[in-house]
């Protein structure tokens, strides 16, 4: 009896509350920032699920925060051919010389402009379904959370880093994202507040990177 219960609890589909969520979300991509990795379950960004970053303004260092993970996701993987880094409606031009300086190959960038929110979500879903992206960065604002749920389903079981960047004003709205992080600019660098992660109370990470 006990042995069979153990067997069930070992199954991949079972998650026990207050345990780190590593059993459920196995695929991780190290964020490259030791202070953040120490806090995130499994030691990195979860892959194959929806991550939400909330920012009060653009240009706080959100790309710098993601850069090590983007680099790692674009590394060649044995089973797959090369995949894209997809930018969906970024607020400014992701500047290719700077991307190249940061170690991202400009030839792997795919930028999609979709002014209508409906088109934007549709584009994200299409990209996820095609399986040809390693990273999807999309800038969203007010979104029906059923759509977010659809995106979360679409990305499941893929080794894709899916990140939605939304204004901090959306902090109070419900979101199905597995990981919600608020970016807080600070004079010394960047602080993060982890608003939601499975099996974890909100946590604050200070000085992810400093000057």
């Amino acid at each position: 009896m006990k042995a069979s219960l153990e067997a069930i609890l070992q199954g991949a589909g079972v998650w026990r509350g207050l345990e780190p969520a590593t059993a459920v979300l196995s695929a991780r991509c190290p964020s490259g920032w030791p202070r953040l990795d120490a806090v995130l379950a499994g030691g990195g960004w979860p892959l194959g699920t929806l991550i939400e970053l909330l920012l009060p303004a653009h240009g706080l260092g959100e790309l710098r925060l993601l850069m090590p993970a983007l680099r790692r996701q674009l590394l060649p993987s044995p089973g797959d051919g090369p995949r894209w880094l997809v930018w969906i409606s970024p607020p400014h031009e992701p500047y290719p010389p700077a991307l190249a300086q940061s170690g991202l190959d400009p030839a792997r960038m795919l930028r999609i402009e979709a002014p209508q929110p409906a088109d934007r979500l549709w584009a994200v879903e299409q990209v996820l379904q095609s399986g040809s992206a390693a990273v999807v960065l999309c800038w969203l604002d007010a979104v029906d959370d059923r759509w977010l749920r659809r995106l979360k389903l679409a990305v499941e079981n893929q080794s894709v880093l899916l990140i939605a960047l939304r204004p901090t004003a959306r902090r109070q709205t419900h979101s199905p994202a597995s990981l919600r992080i608020e970016l807080v600019p600070a004079p010394h660098g960047l602080d993060l507040t982890i608003l939601k992660e499975r099996g974890r109370a909100p946590t604050r990470v200070t000085r992810v990177f400093g000057e």
Binding site: A57, H58, G59, L60, G61, E62, L63, R64, P76, G79, D80, G81, P82, R83, W84, P90, P91, H92, E93, P94, Y95, P96, P97, A98, L99, A100, Q101, S102, D105, P106, A107, R108, M109, L110, R111, I112, E113, A114, D119, W122, A123, Q126, V127, S130, G131, S132, P185, A186, P187, H188, G189, L190
Partner: protein, 530 residues
């Protein structure tokens, strides 16, 4: 060719004369000296056999009814003559070459049509397409002859006789009969066909005899050359061949002995191979005018199916299709261009894209006709059947994604980027049409000084307080200046000092200072180190 002048110097003059005379004698005759004559080489090519198929009555393509008394005329108004007549007209005594006036007097009921060179060229090309059933090498000789290399086809079709009758039954129509001449060289076959000599000539040795009796007119030499020949009393090819070579070249043109060499198989005559149409084009005239895009879809699908047949025949695919919806006369047309990242053969794949685009197409006026013109025809590559699967499947999925995104969001909404070696920051990259994701060994050069990840679409002027730029508070300069002065030749030159600065909010920004014509300093924000 380069050795000829040297030979002339080494060999005594009389011998050279001998050698040139030999050219026009039988090739089997032993040459009196050990050096072979410089030009009269028997070419070491595999033996060819050429079939010239001539359509003397090709101008009759414009005639609608083969049984009626009809003829085709050409020439300027007032001085026209008949170029081809139907069999019925022939019985009334009409023949090619007769003047229009004479024909109308002889047979008042005759219907005359103007000759149409375009229609004839089209008809000849259509016959060339059909001729590909017999050989892969078909060449056109305007205005009315096809040249087919048939040596390799003889066995397949059961010998020359069987092949000739198959060619005749395929290419000849009751109105437009064929003249078929066979010879080992292109030019001989052509000349025999013009002389209507259908007896096959199978070896080079028989050629001089077979050509000897032909009138000089079959050669198509210039009129002045033919006149000179006539004055010299030369009226057949045989007589011309017997003349000394250098004399012929001097008195007529150097071209004449060369053409004779080609006809007799002593010099190669390369032919241009006829290549089948590169694009598919077809048009449907709608039975009724149509304004809704839904009602156009079945017709477009019909055209796509025709294109698929065209492509399957050639084992080919296209990456672009252009639909043109013709409106009522005077109202122009609407064009819809479909583009795929990977070339496709199947109509179904195009139709997916078409439905998406057609749904959003706004037609300004009712449509009366639809034209489909395919893009460049590419060899078909079976994508989904790769053994090593992964890469190919991935590429196909990526290509489908691009097509779908472009179809809904527009061509410009989806793009990739590349680096451009340029000092001006706004010119140091370019948006490009996205390609499938790939690893590039050398992505290009990028500047050594730090660049911001967000570049503003246009530099944003910054207010200046206490002689220092301000962006939500005074900016603290962290590094710089980096002077960028370039582009004066393009009329959009810049002369700027760039700094990295820290804003009050903690954000690092990329700002520059430039002077206007009055020497006034201006500060602008150009990027954010996100």
């Amino acid at each position: 060719m380069a050795i000829r002048p040297r030979l002339r110097r080494l060999v005594p003059e009389r011998r050279v004369q001998n050698a040139t005379l030999d050219l026009f004698a039988s090739t089997e005759r032993a040459t009196p000296h050990p050096t072979p004559p410089p030009v009269a080489r028997v070419l070491p090519q595999p033996a060819q056999l050429w079939l010239a198929v001539r359509f003397p009555t090709l101008p009759l393509v414009v005639v609608p009814d083969p049984a009626a008394v009809q003829a085709v005329v050409e020439g300027l108004p007032g001085r026209q003559w008949l170029v081809a007549v139907t069999a019925a007209a022939c019985q009334f005594g009409l023949e090619a070459g007769l003047s229009r006036a004479a024909a109308e007097i002889r047979v008042p009921s005759v219907t005359l049509y103007e000759r149409c060179a375009d229609r004839e060229a089209q008809a000849l090309k259509a016959r060339a397409r059909a001729a590909f059933a017999f050989t892969p090498f078909v060449s056109l000789e305007a205005p009315d002859t096809l040249l087919l290399e048939i040596r390799g086809s003889l066995r397949l079709f059961g010998g020359l006789e069987a092949l000739l009758s198959r060619v005749r039954s395929t290419l000849a129509t009751p109105l437009i009969a064929t003249v078929q001449a066979t010879a080992p060289t292109v030019r001989a076959a052509l000349w025999l066909a013009r002389a209507r000599v259908e007896r096959p000539v199978l070896s080079t040795a028989e050629l001089p005899g077979a050509l000897a009796a032909l009138p000089l007119a079959v050669t198509g030499f210039e009129a002045s050359v033919l006149q000179t020949c006539e004055r010299m009393g030369v009226s057949t090819l045989g007589e011309l061949i017997r003349l000394p070579r250098d004399g012929v070249a001097r008195r007529l043109t150097p071209d004449v002995p060369r053409q004779l060499d080609e006809a007799l198989g002593r010099a190669a005559q390369p032919r241009r191979r006829h290549v089948l149409a590169e694009r598919f084009t077809d048009q449907i005239d709608l039975p009724a005018e149509s304004l809704t895009t839904d009602s156009l879809l079945p017709w477009c699908a019909h055209l796509l199916a025709a294109q698929q047949r065209f492509l399957v025949q050639r084992d080919a695919a296209v990456a672009q299709c252009r639909f043109r919806f013709q409106h009522r006369s005077g109202q122009g047309s609407t064009t819809l261009v479909l583009q795929r990242s990977l070339a496709a053969t199947q109509a179904a794949e195009w139709q997916l894209l078409l439905v998406e685009r057609l749904g959003r197409l706004i037609l300004p006026a009712p449509v009366v006709a639809i034209t489909l013109r395919s893009g460049v025809v590419l060899p078909a590559v079976p994508l989904d059947e790769g053994i090593g699967g992964v890469g190919h499947d991935g590429q196909a999925a990526a290509a489908r994604l691009l097509d779908r995104l472009r179809a809904r969001l527009g061509e410009e909404a989806v793009h990739g980027v590349c680096l451009v070696p340029e000092h001006r920051p706004e010119c140091a990259y370019a948006r490009v049409r996205p390609t499938l994701p790939s690893v590039i060994a050398d992505p290009g050069q990028w500047p050594m000084a730090p660049r911001p990840l967000w570049l503003l679409a246009a530099p944003q002027p910054l207010p200046v307080r206490d002689a220092a730029p301000s962006y939500g508070g005074p900016l603290r300069l962290l590094s710089g200046p980096e002077r960028i002065e370039s582009g004066w030749w393009s009329g959009q030159g810049v002369a700027r000092d760039y700094y990295v600065a820290c804003a009050a909010s903690g954000a690092r920004v990329w700002i520059f200072c430039e002077r206007d014509a009055d020497g006034q300093r201006h500060w602008c924000l150009h990027g954010v180190f996100a």
